[in-house]
Amino acid sequence: MTDNDVLLRVDNLVKYFPIMRGLLQKQVGAVRAVDGISFDVKRGETLGLVGESGCGKSTAGRTILQLYRATSGNVNFDGTDLTTLKGEDLRKMRRKMQMIFQDPYASLNPRMTVGEIIREPLLVHNVATESEANERVKELLELVRLNPAFSSRYPHEFSGGQRQRVGIARALALQPSFIVCDEPISALDVSIQAQVVNLLEELQDKFNLTYLFIAHDLSMVRHISDRVAVMYLGVVVELTTRNELYANPLHPYSQALLSAVPVPDPVIESTRKRTILVGDVPSPANPPSGCRFRTRCPIAEAVCAESRPEFREIKPGHFVACFFAERFLQ
């Protein structure tokens, strides 16, 4: 892989949120939401980022886009280190990277018409005059399969799936090359999810978009991603191609996660063997020493408490952070 194929390189990215206490708001600790993650996203690919609530996947997405400033580490986007950019330089870069949010009810301003919402990025970035922008709004609405006549309506007049289309149109307005999709379908009904996912795939083909697709739904991630990274408690524990991960998961957490997903097929469900994890995810404010997963891991040994397993390439393109991953190699 030459560097030219890589659109985004995340290097040892860390994001801590301070915990303040007392009258003087002294920092007494930190929530280690993202604690040293590294991966590349290639041009035109979809990298799925999966994990359970609180694992830091959304924080990772936001920190990559500099919506949160990183505590340490680098985010190299198309040759520029975003973590060093400020002010106007950063604002210019934002044109190339956009975000689609989870909650289509909270992420659209209820006092703006859909037309105004989609037009706003064009005007903010001075890329179009008022009349050009209006033309572009029509194009964008058609692109996401909404009636262009709807541009004067308000968000509350739309259903969840339609609102998510508005969010997608807004994200596409500036012709970005990279979009972080933060759980874009989890608030939608099943039959509507497929509509939105199909639209995202279509747009990707059309505009050669690169997606970071954040989700907790492993079946949907498998469907849409080229490669998948699995996060647990602020760290990436496994990263590989879609089919490789689902066929040969090497990290005990990925294995448990995959076996927990119900398959909509009663014949398969009746014969499947599940790895049921015990307990809950520990608090990211006070994560376990060594391997983050050791408190729930079925194969943990003494060494797992002593040091943090290295995130290593165990076979070409398959990265895993576990001391004992070799055991599962086929």
């Binding site: 359970e52 609530s53 259903s159 799936g161 339609q162 009904d189 099943v190 039959s191 509507i192 999810q193 497929a194 509509q195 996912v197 199909n198 795939e201 907790h216 492993l218 079946s219 949907m220 498998r222 469907h223 849409i224 089919n243 689902y246 448990a256 996660l257 995959l258 076996s259 927990a260 997903v261 119900p262 398959v263 909509p264 097929d265 009663p266 014949v267 398969i268 469900e269 009746s270 499947r272 599940r274 049921i276 994890l277 809950d280 995810v281």
Partner: protein, 329 residues
Amino acid sequence: MADLLLDVQGLETTFKTSEGVVHAVNGVSFGLKEGETLGVVGESGCGKSVTMLSILGLVASPPGNVKAGSAKFFDQDLLKMSRDEMRAIRGAQIGMVFQDPMTSLNPVLTVGRQLQEPLMLHLGMSKKQAESRAAELLEMVGIPNGKDRLSDYPHQFSGGMRQRVMIAMAISCSPQVLIADEPTTALDVTIQAQITDLIKRLRSELGMAIIWITHDLGVVAGLAQRVIVMYGGHIIEEAQVNELFANPAHPYTIGLIGSLPRVDDNDQRRLVSIEGLPPMLFEKPTYCPFAPRCKWVMERCWNENPVLETVAPEHRVACWADVKKERPR
């Protein structure tokens, strides 16, 4: 039918809203056999939760109104009961688990107190008996050191643990029926697997019948013996679980199964999506509620609302078209 534990016939429920009357449930009939697990599947607004709330007498009136129907439970009609009669059954013979364990537990009472309440109320236990039974129940649903945790408040439990507490409360009086409304939807997959596993264990230990309401066909596939699919306040398909997944006959069920990506699926086929939106139900549908989104829609669908008809043993469908043969039934 004599072997039915719960027999619901022609249930209709409406809600008055500022925009008009919403016909949430429009003539729903189904039965629940002793010891069986019945999955109720459908999207938001299809009437699956309202159906169960109506049966339990939990629809607030106004704005809600259970207009018609009957729900026979041991030769008594639940819908005709007084509040006190209903209260004696709810929580005792019929247990309930709701979606959000944080809002369905009282945040200012200890978990122990909330667990003891039904035991003392329905089973007439003394405070001491109830306390030791409550501790047993917590252990039974997989909360270690049950006795020590009785004095904890709901916020001291995680989401999955809270749902276990809810389940402990629901089964505390050994109900014949457990109604679970999206009990795992708010939980992460690994926790969801823990909870479904727990339910399976309790089911075989206690032998209760379960009505499991969900939008997740995967959960239904693993848990239910029989499935009801709801759309627009109607039951549109009903079958044994294997039959439903192998031979879905209603266009909506076919679309729903096709729109799901599968974790065990290797090829990246395009998902089959159902175009359009679910109906608003401001009028009681006189035509098939799925007609506006249906690929196989015919003239008759707009004139008459199809009724459930048997197409195979224990398999009933409400559709004018025989989708497989691409012709009217």
